[in-house]
Symmetry: C2
DNA sequence: TCTCGTACATGCATGAATGTATGTTACTCG
DNA sequence: CGAGTAACATACATTCATGCATGTACGAGA
């Protein structure tokens, strides 16, 4: 009666599709193991949720749509995540980890603090080209001033970023590569705000995003712009 | 039974309070006229809704809380506004009008395009010191890519701001006060993004907000920073 | 091949928020 | 000063997303 099997075929098709290339391989098993299957759907759900959060925010996010876009139903979602909040927390961690791998690395490679901050700006601009760019800022806007666990988590990451930037600014000032000005913490706030604001405004925009974000970031730091030092486009 | 009159007294008190100074006046009537009363509550509801939208966004905005914070109930709200969407649209118009009076004026007074843009940045920073700073960006983030009427309205205002800035950038480049660079429209996006991002990050922050926002804005435009003018280049 | 645990789907109950209908008080005008 | 209407409050119906409980198919080990 209610035993329709279409959904079963669908998921079968999905996994077969993903597995067919392995048919002749030797490293991975022909049929997906349970752990693989679980990880696969978990990843799909996380990605879908990240897109949704980036577009609609937490409150407007409808879990059925998240699951559907990932190719599942809410059942799968509630099997992998405790509830909406847990899912969002997982997305937040996932996004931050991705950011750290992609942008944090760039920053760590630079020696000069000013160069590190500009690398952060450029890296963030590139990072924001994808469709999950707004996750962080959307969640922070939505939960700012609240006492929600998600808000706390996001705010924690944000504060740690601010600290990191403030530290770099202080170091840059001591090294002489960043001019004096307002308190380092206030400058760090401005720097991050400028980077985030421009990155979002320019996301998906041309190839100009990098240099423009870097320019705004440099302005917030009080650095001379590249137009002053003719021909210098790092 | 359900005829409690406490709420009636409350509203009476509220209006008497606001009217007492007029007791000896001659210009305005001693007792508030209907239109005055209506305008008063409408304004209170608008202000409350603006705060709510700025804090929680559209989706998380609870109309009962809006009404309660304004000193009324949802009944008053639904008497003055057709529905939630209508209220939000009214808030949007109200905020934009306020912005234009406060910031737009500053911009119009400046002769040089570059000076006008920097005046916009500083003016916006000051404008964002109040608690309704985030209304515009919150709504735009929440409805970006949607087909919601509120989103269209907000996006319209945003695009018109972008156009205005792009025009100023073009003029500034012809006048020589703004260096060449990426397409004017892209720079305008970066400029507005930088201004909004820094203004929000620094809202309520110290007296440094103005100069820091101006710095980021100048950076996005490719202008030399004031530290260069002071001769403090590294 | 049989059985058990896991991955997932489906159906239902709950709660919260919206919108509307109805009732009550305050102002206005004859 | 009395009728009529506007400004509100209150009570109710509807909608809808969440969370959970139940049901079914798949994978792993004996």
């Amino acid at each position: 009666m209610h035993v329709r099997e279409s959904h079963v075929r669908e998921s079968q098709v999905r996994e077969n599709e993903a597995n067919r290339p392995d048919a002749g391989g030797s490293a991975s098993p022909r049929r997906p193991t349970q752990a693989e299957r679980r990880a696969r759907t978990r990843n799909a759900l996380l990605e879908s949720a990240a897109r949704g959060l980036s577009r609609y925010g937490y409150g407007n996010l409808v879990l059925e749509q998240v699951a559907r876009e990932a190719g599942y139903t809410r059942g799968a979602l509630y099997h992998q995540f405790k509830d909406k909040q847990d899912l969002t927390l997982a997305v937040s961690e996932w996004v931050m980890a991705t950011w750290d791998e992609e942008v944090g690395q760039l920053v760590a490679q630079e020696q000069d603090p000013a160069a590190a901050l500009l690398a952060l700006a450029r890296g963030h601009a590139v990072y924001c080209r994808r469709d999950i760019a707004r996750v962080a800022i959307a969640l922070r806007l939505e939960f700012s001033g609240q006492d929600h666990p998600v808000g706390r988590e996001v705010e924690k990451g944000y504060q740690s970023l601010i600290e990191r930037c403030a530290g770099l600014i202080g170091a840059g000032r001591e090294a002489g590569s960043i001019p004096d000005g307002p308190p380092a913490r206030a400058v760090a706030l401005a720097f991050v705000g400028a980077v985030e604001g421009t990155s979002i405004a320019l996301s998906g925009q041309a190839p100009h995003d990098e240099s423009l974000v870097a320019g705004a970031a440099a302005g917030a730091l009080g650095l001379p712009t590249h137009t002053d030092i003719q021909g210098r486009t790092a």
